[in-house]
Structure formats: C-alpha cells, structure tokens
C-alpha cells in the first residue's frame, strides 16, 4: 500500500518535472523525487541504498544543479515543435523496456536466480568469514571489492573530467586577461615612445 502511494507520487513528480518551464522549480522537484525514492527503498528494506539516494540525489545533485543554474539561466527555452523521429525512438525503447520487465523476477521471489545459492552463501558464511554485522558492507567492501574499486575510480575520473573541462576555462580566461593587460602595457609603452618621438 505504501509502495503504491510512493510510486504514484514518483510518477506525478516525474510528469511535473517534464512539464514545468521554470528550471529552479524542476531542480527542487528532482530533490523531492530523490527523497520519495529513498522512502520507497526504505520500505523495501534497502536502507543503505536509501541512505545513498537521500544524500547524493537529494543533497549533492540538487546543489550541483542549482550551481549550474546560477552559471546559466533559470528559464527553459520554449520549444513547441515535437521531433517525430525522436518520439518514435523513445516510444520504441519504452515498449521494449516494458517488454523486458516481464522477465525480471518479482520482488521477494524466492526462486529468483540471485536467491538460489548466492544469498544463502553470503547470509550463512559471511558472519564467520568477515565478522561484520552489516552484511551489505561485507558484500560491498570484501566480496565485491573489485566493483567498489571501479566505482571509486569512476568518481575520481568524473572529478578529473570536471576539473579539465571547467577548471581550465577559468585559468585560460585569467591568462587571456593577463595577455590583454600586457598588450595594453605594450601599447601604452609604444604610445609613450611615440610621444617622445
């Protein structure tokens, strides 16, 4: 019941975000979207995922969107024309995704492939092997250590990419200002030379 209410909220929020013209309101609604999604994860007993969603989606992502708005503009450019090929591609992809959902095991299905032997292995052996009460941590950090290393690498690479794309622009502009100042100086020097001549 709670799930249905939260999912309805998510759908309403998603449609509203698309339809709103004000980017500031859209950003605020994406934050609320993340919080509702976090509530949904809590009701599914995935507390760690909910925690991450609330902290990253509701906190940092909203802030980054806001600072992007501060750099650009807070109003969406009005675009009335609907591109037909794009609409067809989106509809086709959506249909295929809906078709693919039917193959996913139901939530809590004990005959799902993941619950055949893997979950049992973790649940019964990890208290003796790892000895960490939070089993999510033992799977994330020890059994799946490679995956987590890849995730950290992704975050690090993203940080470097942002630094290269946006960080250098500032330095370049400073350099250009410096060169302009230099040319001003040289021109004033040449003027002075002209004056003396």
């Amino acid at each position: 019941m709670v799930d249905i209410v939260l999912l309805t909220f998510l759908v309403i929020l998603g449609i509203t975000i698309i339809r709103l013209g004000s980017l500031f309101a859209s950003v605020m609604l994406t934050g609320i979207f993340s919080l509702v999604a976090a509530g949904l994860y809590v009701s599914m007993d995935a507390v760690d995922v909910a925690f991450t969603e609330a902290a990253v989606g509701g906190g940092i992502a909203t802030l980054l969107f806001l600072s992007t708005i501060a750099l650009t503009t807070s109003q969406e450019k009005s675009k009335e024309k609907v591109s037909m090929p794009a609409l067809i591609v989106v509809l086709l992809t959506g249909t295929f995704l809906m078709f693919g959902i039917s193959d996913i095991p139901k939530f809590g299905d004990s005959s799902a492939p993941a619950h055949q032997y893997l979950s049992d292995r973790y649940v019964y052996k990890s208290p003796n092997e790892i000895g960490v009460p939070n089993m999510v941590t033992s799977v994330l950090a020890s059994y799946r250590g490679y995956d987590t290393m890849g995730e950290v690498t992704v975050i690090f690479t993203a940080g470097i990419a942002v630094l290269m794309l946006l960080g250098r622009g500032r330095r370049g502009r400073a350099g250009r200002n410096g060169s302009i100042a230099n040319s001003d100086q040289s021109s004033s020097v040449s003027q002075r030379e002209k004056g003396t001549v």
């Binding site: 507390v47 760690d48 909910a50 925690f51 991450t52 902290a55 990253v56 906190g59 940092i60 802030l63 980054l64 600072s67 992007t68 501060a70 750099l71 003796n128 092997e129 790892i130 000895g131 960490v132 009460p133 939070n134 999510v136 941590t137 033992s138 994330l140 950090a141 020890s142 250590g145 490679y146 987590t148 290393m149 995730e151 950290v152 690498t153 975050i155 690090f156 993203a158 940080g159 942002v162 630094l163 946006l166 960080g167 500032r170």
Partner: protein, 136 residues
C-alpha cells in the same frame, strides 16, 4: 548572504554536527547502514553549506583546492594500496585475510581502510566539483 543572521547562526550550529555525523557514518558502516560513499557526501555537504553561507573564498581558505586534488587521488591510491599490500603479504589482490594474523581481524582492517579511501575520494571530488561550479 552576510546579512542573514538566522542562516548564519543555524549553519554554525549545524556544521559541526554534520561533520561528526559524517565521521559516524564512515566508521560505523560495519555495524549499521552507511559507509564511505555516504560519509563522503555528507562530509562534503557540510563544507558546501559553509561555503554557501560564508562565501566560497572563505571555504577555499579552509580547504585549498590543491589539498582537495591530492586527497581525491590519495583515497583511490589508499584503496589500491590495500589491494597491493594483500598481494605482497601472499594473498590475492584485495584479499584482506592475509593483512593480519587472524583472517577476521584482517578483514576488519581491510574494510576500514578501503572505506576510508572511498570516503576521502568521494568527499574531495564532491567539494572540488562544487568549487569549480561555484567559481566567482
């Protein structure tokens, strides 16, 4: 934001608590929900709150950009270093069993260290990204 007295007072009260909570999430991740990712994001959000209220320039004087760059790389290096330390001690890459005499305490040490590395990288990258976006 210099004239917003309420915001300034509330932020001054909240920032230490957010930082402590981030450390709690970091080092309590073995026992409850949480871990490096969440702790890093919460730690970064405390400093972003500081820079929103007191200005980006002040925040940059607290943690300089170069420190963030070094910390973000150091976190990932710490993670990989734990893996290599396990390799040198005679185990597989990222096999924490060999880090201590007892396999379970070796796992504890390994998980603590790699979560620390994750937290450092995430916090530093988040702050770095915000500082780049919020440049004056």
């Amino acid at each position: 934001m210099e004239h917003h007295l309420v915001l300034r007072v509330v932020a001054k009260l909240l920032i230490p608590m957010i930082l402590i909570f981030a450390l709690y999430v970091q080092f309590h991740g073995d026992y409850g929900p949480g871990g490096g990712f969440q702790a890093g994001v919460i730690f970064a959000s405390a400093l972003i709150l500081y820079s929103l209220i007191f200005g980006v320039e002040n925040a940059r004087s607290v943690i300089s950009f170069n420190v963030l760059r070094i910390v973000s790389a150091f976190g990932l290096l710490l993670y990989i270093g734990v893996g290599i330390a396990a390799l040198i001690s005679g185990g597989n890459f990222l096999d924490y069993n060999v880090l201590a005499s007892d396999p379970v305490s070796g796992q504890h040490i390994g998980i603590l260290l790699i979560e620390l590395g994750v937290g450092m990288t995430v916090a530093a990258v988040m702050m770095m990204t915000f500082f780049i976006f919020a440049r004056p």
